[in-house]
Amino acid sequence: MTTHLTHGERPSDASGGGSGEPAPIGTGSRGTRILGAAALLGVLALGLVGLLVSPEDRIQGDLVRILYVHVPSAMLAYVACGITTLGSAVYLWKKSRWWDLVAYSSAEIGAVFTGITLVTGMLWGRPTWGVYWVWDARLTSTAMLFLLLLGYLAVRRIPAAAPVRSKRAAIVGLLLVPNVVIVRQSVEWWRTLHQEATIFANGLESEIQGMMLFAWFLGVVVFGLIFAWLLIHRFRLAWLQEQIEEHGLETAIADRRAEADLDASPADRTPAAGVSPPTNPTTDAEAAR
């Protein structure tokens, strides 16, 4: 991955990017193309295993196939929140621009995965519970997590100087992991309609076995690949946005200085019409004598 960057440091300075290779167009690279291809193949394999090969559940029937996308989405949403909190903490500590952008990128992806978790959960809830939504502890805490992520992204959009904006967002980012703990433990702490942990119910023991367990595991791996691909690309996009913002500011300052110089120059060099140049009273008096 990219090396640690601090404020004012260019990525090329830190990584030896001036290696003579042509600058990339877009956010892709050889590594991300391989990662993307692996993720696409993984999606195909997951579709095959999750929809066709794995058996239906004794109680839930074919609805169990929602588990193979719902649970990995939720897990990656938690991972995204963890990365955002970590990035926020490191930013507040070291003022590392790199970690700030990682936190920002991860929060946006986390919001996408949390939104997916909520929607797939609702679609699973309708045939299972008879309703799309119930103010259950797990569902409510997940909705709160989603709102917190949207809040983080909203704070980043409030106009302010970049360090101020990053600091405000980082403080919100610190709240994500405690919220994830509440979401994770909500089915243990409160009486809920949502089922308890299926996979790691008793330590490493799982409530599902065989092909179902394999399909779930494959789902986690594939979603992990997708997450990694998205995070790298989103980070690079954030980097480009920051470069443009910085260049825009530098250009605006340079333009303003040039305008100010242009305005000041004629006044310095030639007096304005109808105004006499300042005279030296001593010299004038001596000349009159």
């Binding site: 990525p11 090329s12 600058a23 167009i25 997708i226 996009l237």
Partner: protein, 44 residues
């Protein structure tokens, strides 16, 4: 809607949202990278 209807809806939404989000990132990245000098486009 039967069980398979809910299953297919879930899978289509998940893959559709992720594909759309990925496409947005790639397209925006291509557009923005043209506005950034080549020396600032190196991040690895």
């Amino acid at each position: 809607m039967n069980q398979w209807g809910y299953v297919i809806a879930c899978w289509v939404i998940v893959l559709g949202v992720l594909a759309a989000y990925a496409a947005i990132i790639v397209v925006r990245g291509r557009a923005l990278s043209r506005q950034v000098p080549p020396e600032d486009r190196r991040w690895m």
